[in-house]
């Protein structure tokens, strides 16, 4: 029968025109499987939580008046009048305007609203029932639902409260944009971010310029000092500023009566923690500029000032723009610093925390998160475009600039860099000093009492050990996932659509602020219907969250290294009938080992310092040092907070040194081939 049917069909197109579909080899299948697994990881750890958060922001509560019925007795207590629905009463009385029917999950509407002549001394009796499925009401603190009548006297009727039902809509957004105290934060966040960005980029440009273009001494030391802020949580400068400029601050007079709690504190702290990021980017941009342009300018007898504006600045423009957007993004999404030093000055990231932790208003937290996504995604997109341009500019071969000694300029550069170094070391030093003081400012004797973390909020010493454990796991698991993911996406043959989807997923985390990611995780993983619910409250979810939060930079680093590998290695191995994983083990991993180590230390350091994403996710057994800093500061234990912050600093510094030693040792063993 089948043959008959086939024969009945008209002849199709000639065989040659039929597109060829490849048969997949074992390697192809395994590689695609790996890629799919890691893509699934990103979907589960990123896309689905974000979706859960987005839908939460549309989840609203309102009072459903059609779902309640009342019946009122006469003064003798007999119910002669027919029951009437709350909606009908409201129609008649206009007691509750429609906009007041929208509320949050904690909303309550007194039943007496619909009875203007209610008096609790009246002998009148009331009956109430809920006719809708979800509708419920309270009598006192007792919750009732269902269509059975409940009868109460007048005195108790004043204790009857209607509860809201769930709904879907834009009401949360409407509330957000019509509540000035919330909406104001958008403006605050933008202003602070712009000011911090301008200051940081200018300062970092000067620093990078001095490093690149002068012959001042101690360049290496300066570079090292400038990198130090990366090793501490962003809220640590806030603590230092309290000790310097707080009401009992050592240098309070310098503020001329202004308070450090607020914009001033946030800006100074932001400059501190974003400085190294800006400096690295600008240094790279300055390092690639072409010495020949300077020779040409010199030949044309251009003044130094003119050369600076016509050669230096345009040459570094992509670096400057990129640095600006990176700093902007860091500041606007940072939560720890404004939390510690922001006082009453609200910023978006802090609002998310306040809404969720303070008011248990998860829906509004989700709304603020969505609002915060806009500037973050925008800054990220601009940065990516600019980065691409810079890479294009970089590929053109140029001659590196070699500075010549210019005594006056070098001295100026040295003084400038020293000032920046004093700023950075000063803030760190203040923290360490504060941690060792017994009771600032009344008892200045030295003591280790502030290290008795077990007596404070935040989880004690356990949180420190948890952090180290979490950072280790993040470094190991993260490096594994990131590197394998990057390898598969770079080296898989064909499967273009899958690979571009993967690339998109891998780039996404950078645009997602940590607070938003953490909140999204609550919505997604804390849902009992989610089979991954068991992860909630474990160290594993902290690791997953941190890996995802810092995925993009690690991924890009891995991709850069893998792109430098000959594209044909895989082809050669396949033609020699060797599986790709042998090649991966024998060639790819050993050759990329320096990069792999770089990724793992990057993940380690960030896992130690991150606050924003994990602040929603830690559990009593998985408290973290960085969150402990926040919580101890929050409870007023500022000195122990500083002590813990410095513990993080020393740990990260130690990890860096260890990384350096290990790298050197490993390099000597595995990278012998690099040296002729």
């Amino acid at each position: 029968m089948a043959t008959a049917a086939e024969e009945a069909l008209p002849k199709g197109r000639p065989a040659k025109a039929r597109p060829v579909r490849p048969k997949l080899g074992r390697d192809d299948l395994i590689m695609r499987a790996f890629m799919v697994v890691i893509a699934l990881y990103l979907v589960v750890a990123l896309a689905l939580p974000l979706y859960a958060m987005l839908s939460k922001s549309f989840s609203t509560f309102r009072f459903d008046l059609t779902a309640y019925e009342f019946q009122v007795s006469d003064e003798q207590g007999s119910f002669a009048v027919p029951p009437v629905s709350a909606a009908a009463l409201n129609e008649e009385l206009q007691a509750v305007p429609p906009e007041n029917l929208a509320t949050n999950g904690d909303g309550r509407l007194p039943a007496t609203s619909f009875f203007p002549d209610f008096s609790f001394r009246s002998p009148v009796m009331y009956r109430i029932r809920a006719t809708g499925d979800d509708a419920s009401y309270l009598i006192g603190s007792e919750r009732f639902a269902g269509s059975r009548w409940q009868e109460v006297d007048s005195n108790d009727f004043r204790r009857v409260m209607l509860r809201p039902v769930r709904d879907i809509g834009l009401a949360n957004y409407a509330t957000y944009f019509s509540t000035p105290s919330l909406f104001r934060s958008v403006e605050n966040s933008l202003i602070i971010s712009v000011i911090s960005t301008v200051i940081t980029v200018l300062l970092a440009f000067g620093f990078a310029y001095a490093l690149n273009r002068s012959c001042m001494p101690f360049k290496g030391v300066f570079r090292l000092i400038a990198m130090a802020p990366i090793l501490v949580p962003s809220l640590l400068p806030g603590i230092a500023l309290v000790y310097l400029f707080g009401n009992q601050g050592m240098l309070k007079a310098f503020l001329l009566g202004e308070s450090i709690y607020g914009p001033i504190g946030i800006v100074i702290g932001s400059v501190f923690f974003t400085f190294p990021h800006a400096m690295i980017i600008i240094t790279t941009a300055l390092a690639i500029s072409d010495a020949r342009l300077y020779e040409a300018a010199e030949c044309l007898k251009a003044s130094r000032w003119k050369t600076f504006w016509t050669v230096t600045v345009p040459g570094a423009r992509y670096g400057l723009i990129s640095a600006a957007f990176v700093v902007f993004n860091l500041v606007i999404t940072d939560f720890g610093l404004p939390k510690v030093i922001g006082g009453q000055f609200n910023m978006l990231a802090v609002d998310i925390y306040k809404q969720v932790i303070g008011q248990q208003n998860f829906e509004m937290g989700a709304v603020v998160s969505v609002v915060l996504l806009f500037p973050a995604v925008l800054a990220f997109t601009v940065d990516r475009i600019v980065q691409k341009r810079q890479v294009a500019a970089l590929s053109a071969r140029s001659v590196p600039y070699q500075p010549k000694p210019k005594p006056r300029f070098d001295a100026l550069a040295f003084v400038y860099c020293s000032l920046i170094a004093v700023f950075i070391l000063g803030l760190l030093g203040v923290c360490q000093f504060a941690a060792l003081i017994k009771f600032w400012p009344y008892d200045l004797s030295l003591s280790l009492k502030n290290y008795a973390f077990d007596l404070m909020d935040g989880g004690g010493w356990d949180s420190y050990y948890n952090s180290i454990r979490m950072a280790f796991l993040t470094a190991i698991f993260g490096t594994l996932v990131v590197f394998i993911g990057a390898y598969m996406v770079e080296k898989t043959r064909g499967f273009e659509s899958g690979r571009s989807l993967f690339q998109l997923l891998a780039m996404l985390p950078m645009a997602i602020p940590g607070m938003v990611l953490g909140l999204a995780y609550i919505f997604f993983f804390n849902d009992p219907r989610n089979p991954l619910n068991a992860l909630y409250g474990t160290l594993a979810i902290l690791v997953v969250c941190t890996v995802t939060h810092f995925y993009t930079v690690s991924h890009l680093t891995a991709m850069t290294a893998l792109k430098q590998m000959d594209r044909e290695f895989e082809s050669v191995a396949a033609s020699l009938k060797q599986p790709f994983y042998k090649l991966f083990r024998v060639v790819t991993v050993p050759v990329c080992l320096p990069t792999i180590l770089d990724i793992s230390i990057y993940l380690f350091v960030n896992a130690m310092t991150t606050v924003s994403a994990v602040v929603f996710l830690y559990s009593p057994t998985t408290t973290l040092a960085s969150v402990a800093v926040l919580n101890m500061d929050d409870a007023g234990d500022i000195a122990p907070a500083a002590a813990m912050g410095m513990m993080i600093f020393y740990t990260n510094a130690g990890a860096r040194i260890l990384h350096l030693i290990v790298s050197k040792g490993v390099l000597r063993r595995t990278q012998a081939w690099r040296f002729r």
Binding site: A17, G25, R26, V572, R676
Partner: protein
């Protein structure tokens, strides 16, 4: 019996760009075939399709009677040398060569023996402990070759294997590779844009342009009997003269009538006639060598350029109808005929070396 490698109607599209169009080709067992053409002509695409690196859009490939059109790389039977060599930088020479021998059930001693044999074959027995970066480009190339043939594949694919080397090494390696190929008898396909390489190494050359095969033939066929103006122009050097076909085998250049190879062209058609500089035979001015009366032209010598083993001379004259010719004259001929700039000369254009193509298309086919 069918040929070793049978390619039928291969098409390859990259988006809107057609990289291969209707390519059909047979390669015999043990043959050395070169794909030759300018960059972007599709030669590398064709090689990569054979290897399974970039799958064709449609069309079929058979190797040794087996349809390999859609097989993954690992299930095909070839060794490959890339332009970059793709030597594993962190493995020693020895381990690079042994890479394909491992995991194949061979005992360790046999692998070592085979590696030694291969190192001897490429003449680098003393380098086995070194890393690729410690070798010269030519040495690296030979290691890549040794690695590719280590598993004795049925087909050897070479993708511009010599282009990264300097001229002297290149010439030397040409001979080595050719010799090795002959010794092993392995069917070999090499991609190159260097015609000298193709002419000196290949048993047959496949000239490609714009994704189609222009001509397949032995080096002499390709050189002496180009089947298109493109081939004539791309291989070696050639003079191009605009002319009109007056009768089959006969065309008019200026006011001179010449005989040449004009198969398949219609009378009255504007044509381009080609002749290679070394095919122009010089005679003393006014002489009439027997049997060549229809192919004689009187010309004047313009500039002369000494190129080592011969003189290249620019020839002009009324007989050329405003066109000019370049001719290569041996040092002997120059001395014999006392040629110098401004001298008069009679040249003979042998009918068998004058090949006509339709004018107007730069890659028009004859016949």
């Amino acid at each position: 019996m069918s040929s070793y490698l049978r390619i039928r109607d291969l098409h390859k599209k990259f988006g809107d760009f057609t990289a291969l169009r209707n390519v059909s080709l047979d390669v015999e067992e043990g043959e050395f075939v070169c794909f030759l053409g300018p960059s972007g002509c599709g030669k590398t695409t064709l090689l990569r399709a054979i290897a399974g690196l970039d799958l064709q859009t449609h069309g079929s490939i058979e190797q040794a009677g087996r349809d390999i059109s859609t097989l993954p790389i690992a299930e095909r039977d070839f060794g490959i040398v890339f332009q970059s060599y793709a030597l594993f930088p962190n493995l020693t020479i020895e381990r690079n060569i042994a890479f394909g021998l491992e995991n194949s059930g061979r005992p360790r001693a046999e692998i070592a023996r085979r590696v030694t044999e291969l190192l001897d074959l490429v003449g680098l027995a003393d380098q086995r402990e070194k890393y690729p970066a410690q070798l010269s480009g030519g040495q690296q190339q030979r290691i890549a070759l040794a690695r590719a043939i280590a598993t004795s594949p049925g087909l050897l694919l070479l993708d511009e294997p010599l282009s990264a080397l300097d001229a002297k090494v290149r010439v030397h390696l040409r001979h080595q590779i050719k010799e090795l190929q002959r010794k092993l008898g392995v069917t070999t396909v090499m991609v190159t844009h260097d015609q000298e390489e193709a002419l000196s190494m290949a048993d047959r050359i496949v000239v490609m342009n714009h994704g189609v095969i222009e001509q397949i033939g032995t080096p002499t066929e390709i050189y002496r009997e180009p089947r298109s103006l493109f081939v004539a122009d791309f291989i070696g050097e050639t003079n191009q003269l605009h002319a009109t076909l007056s009768a089959p085998g006969c065309f008019t250049l200026g006011r001179t009538c010449l005989q040449g190879m004009t198969d398949g062209l219609a009378p009255g058609q504007p044509i381009i006639v080609t002749i290679r500089p070394e095919d122009i035979i010089p005679h003393a001015p006014g002489s009439q060598p027997a049997g060549s009366e229809r192919g004689l032209l009187d010309v004047t010598v313009g500039e002369m350029e000494f190129l080592g083993s011969f003189w290249r001379s620019r020839l002009t004259g009324a007989a050329l109808g405003g066109e000019q010719l370049y001719a290569d004259f041996s040092i002997n001929a120059v001395r014999r005929l006392s040629l110098d700039e401004g001298a008069d000369l009679t040249i003979e254009l042998p009918a068998s070396r004058l090949i006509a193509f339709p004018a107007g298309e730069d890659h028009g086919h004859r016949g």
